[in-house]
Subunit: 195 residues, 2 copies
Amino acid sequence: MGKVIVEQSISLDGFSTGPDVTNAEPMGVGGEALHEWMYRDVGPSGRNEEAEALLRTSGAVIVGRRMFDLGVDPWGDPPPFHMPVFVITHRPRDPLPRTGGTTYYFVTGGLEDALAQARKSAGDKDVSVFGGADLVRQFLGAGLVDEVRIHLAHLLLGAGTRLFDGLDPANFDAVESWVEAGPSVTHLTLKLRRP
Amino acid sequence: MGKVIVEQSISLDGFSTGPDVTNAEPMGVGGEALHEWMYRDVGPSGRNEEAEALLRTSGAVIVGRRMFDLGVDPWGDPPPFHMPVFVITHRPRDPLPRTGGTTYYFVTGGLEDALAQARKSAGDKDVSVFGGADLVRQFLGAGLVDEVRIHLAHLLLGAGTRLFDGLDPANFDAVESWVEAGPSVTHLTLKLRRP
């Protein structure tokens, strides 16, 4: 069984999106800067290895319904996942297949249901909790996360959604860490103690 | 002329102290955990090189009056600075010499006055803006900082003082960075573009 991974880009002041998230600006005002490292921090190969490593170990993705609503158009067809994506929602809906290996499945049984379905689908590979922040906090708060991968962009946003707001610090116990330096971002992987 | 350096330990959720800062708990409730890396992350030599490097390049320190009030007793005699410390205050007061090279000087002319006196005193060495968070933000907001050294403790505090709150992101432009990994902390140095 693989790990449950949370992967998020945040600013130095802790925001995972800017303010005023809309369909036109799904990362909020200024929030796209959090992802600039993927396109800017390219190595001698002309590729950004950290960006290419996103989802590399994962066999399934879980997203919140709002993230899906905001993302489905920008992600396009084929979407960047190339694996099953489980959308946690209150409204039942038929699976939505896309090209390139991505199918969106709509799960109405909450976190545990989504995780069970994603695990089954992922097999030995990891399950990636992709967002948004609210979903990430629910998974962290429920003690369901093995590993947090933070891409700490070296900038301030000043406003927006704070990734770690409202969590009980006692439920976040990092027991090991790995760091990779990028020119405009620090990639920090934390292994969490499971309750 | 040396650099103006800000050096702060913060949590993953961006706090530089816990809530309810008092003389009995100058780091706020739970805030001492931010400094645990100094005592826990010792290398094969039995020493923590990053902790020993604190202030190594500095010839003078600037602190806010509240930090001084909270710190003067715990810092004791000899204080850990071993260099002149300039305290920004509204109340004039005679210099307070201590053993081991530390003298507290009380400066009533604000940031620029304190910086001028600290620079003069530091000579070719750096000036370290030590805190608290409010003073750090004033220096950052005024564009007076060359380098920010963040010790990112791999934990959440959940509440307290957010180091970067209320700053204009446009005034924070990190143009170079260096990272050192510790087991429970990531040391991130950012060179800022001066306006």
